[in-house]
Symmetry: C2
Subunit: 458 residues, 2 copies
Amino acid sequence: MKPSIPKGTRDFIPADARKREYIFSTIKKHFKSFGYQPIETPAMENLSTLTGKYGEEGDRLIFKILNSGDYLKKADKSALANEDSKSLISSISEKALRYDLTVPFARFVVQHQNELTFPFKRYQIQPVWRADRPQKGRYREFFQCDADVVGSESLWYEVELMLLFDRVLTDLKLPGFTIKINNRKVLSGLAELIGQPDKIVDFTVALDKLDKIGRDKVIEEMLAKGLDAASLEKAYPIFDLPADPESCLEKMRDLLKDSAIGLEGLKELEFVYTQAKLAGIKKADLALDFTLARGLDYYTGAIFEVKAHEVQIGSICGGGRYDDLTGVFGQKGLSGVGISFGADRIYDVLEALELFPKDTARQNDVLICYFEDEMAPNNFSLCTTLRDRGVSAVMYPENAKLKKQMKYANDNDIPFVVLAGDKEWSEGLIQLKNMETGEQTSHSKDDLILTIAKYCGK
Amino acid sequence: MKPSIPKGTRDFIPADARKREYIFSTIKKHFKSFGYQPIETPAMENLSTLTGKYGEEGDRLIFKILNSGDYLKKADKSALANEDSKSLISSISEKALRYDLTVPFARFVVQHQNELTFPFKRYQIQPVWRADRPQKGRYREFFQCDADVVGSESLWYEVELMLLFDRVLTDLKLPGFTIKINNRKVLSGLAELIGQPDKIVDFTVALDKLDKIGRDKVIEEMLAKGLDAASLEKAYPIFDLPADPESCLEKMRDLLKDSAIGLEGLKELEFVYTQAKLAGIKKADLALDFTLARGLDYYTGAIFEVKAHEVQIGSICGGGRYDDLTGVFGQKGLSGVGISFGADRIYDVLEALELFPKDTARQNDVLICYFEDEMAPNNFSLCTTLRDRGVSAVMYPENAKLKKQMKYANDNDIPFVVLAGDKEWSEGLIQLKNMETGEQTSHSKDDLILTIAKYCGK
């Protein structure tokens, strides 16, 4: 039996796991400094909690868990007789794997409302599962890294979340990235402008493709979707907006001057953009992008998307505001705004640009070689002292040829090797080999410990 | 619809999540300094990978995932017709949730053997799922924190793992705990001694209860299991072993003098015990315990168990050596030794003894109050500066009554509140309120930042 794992899932060997850990811990550090609080929800939710929240396609892609024990006993007999897979599900499966972190968060907020103080800021870094067809960059198990605040309509949270994007991606040393912002209300205003508010989705979905397919094809698609050509022309100015944000907003205000909702959206956008600039963006380019149209099913205000420069990979982060996060679980009127870091794509960007810090490749800081059995307790004790200082130290566990022990250090990118046998211990001078330079130096035990600890920043 | 989660699973609100994070990060810190490497395996394994590895009871308790799409199409028709839940499973479920971390680790080692260097030391901190009947302290989803080394028979790893128990639990400030060690070979020796090696399981399972039910009941149970009374008497000296480890080992060597395997076990035990003592145990009591009999189905050498003093809760950690970890996946002869920290029980112990550090209760370091809208950008910028120094800072997001804002700080255990409105900014003197002492002080902006950062150790 050749061992394998389900398609679309992944094992992470240490070199990869350390790189992932670097991304997660960087994100977590900033989530914390921005005041977001950790929560955890179970991998399994009641199937009824998830069903109907992600559209029909989503319902299909939720992994269902078979009930335990004699699960056919309570099965829907007619579905069983008709071999109707879909109808049978709810009678043989009560639980399912989390499909995203937003629905469990909404469920959590309602369930624990009396234990929380609002506005409630939470972060959550946990895996989700989707029965999607696996393909490059799309997995059936992947981590989401979400920060959301619920219970306030203050636009300062939009500003804060833009800074959070900036700080995390700057800290990860991304050489360049753009935070695109739009506002759902502006899109509604544009749909009003062309007199077809019911066509907002067709209109915005086509508009969203402007970057990729260009103005003519966008208009072509809109017409094909039944948008009226004459009315559509009123919106043409959006194809020729000035690059400068001030002038761009000015022109949009003029365009949407008769749409109350459109003007409100522009006012929000201007506030968020201006305050984010003012608060001090470190590395991000900020861009107003009136073609940005993600999450139209749920976003009601701000819409965010982050793209990395230099790597073609789609968006690496996203987010937005949803006015009624918890309504479906019975608590109306709680507005939320949140963002999500796409850890897998960020990983691919850092890998492509060789931006992972060198020490994520390093398995251990030091290998202590094994010579005579009689000296092993001395060597082990040295190993223990180094560990107590936080140095990642290993002792080769048995008497093997030195060549084999050195190969172990090499194979595992261990930068230091300690050579201490009978002779060294009796002379009180231990040999330290720097595996990068090949240089070998003699040290007293105390000096050796200090040297290694210092190198490792411990 | 009242929101809920599946029984036996848990949500963790921030106060609890921070405490869990404290335990996990402490464990992880020592895993790393001891040279163990992180790996991750998918939550879902192929059902065939897990089936048959945990006994019949285990097979029942594995959570199975229903195949996606029209899963009944490939269902076993006769099982379906007979409504035979058990026989149907393999035809409608290919995947299952991980039941422990050991079997996925063994699968991982075989699958990735060419990418690993042996001896391979890995740690893994991930959730596992069991369809057990939920009860106090037993959950259907819980985390395991495992460290294992595979590919070496060196007893130095046993020594190292005992030190790892000691360092983690000392760091978590446990006031007292005992690491019990035994060796499967000694148990085999005892079974030989009484001439009934085939009865080793009955013999050791009864012996394991000595602490709880006492000598007489243990013997009673052994006799009831069909052990021969006269032969059994030969083993009676184990009920009267001296407390001193040296004399105890001496007496055991005498008792098992005719059992080669028994003597080998004693030699291993003596080495591990002596070297661990020599290497410098910080807080743990070490105890040879010849009644310790966990994991008899797989452990072949050392057996470990850790108990906390002062709290009645069963063992908080365990572990042992298994000679043929990966054989079932086709790679013979790889010996492994590993330990597991019971994070949930450790949590309960720390909670019971009030050992969680005070700052795990703290949501944020500082709240910046909101006064006039015009001053909000100043306040937000102060917030950003503090965050950039690593301080967890939040700004109240809108103009609310000061009382409400102070309540927010109180409810969330935020130790500092910054009061900076029009007056304070124009005078250049910002008010800082220490919520613990009630003391309020005036600071220039720079001084304020330094004061807060210093208090938070940033």
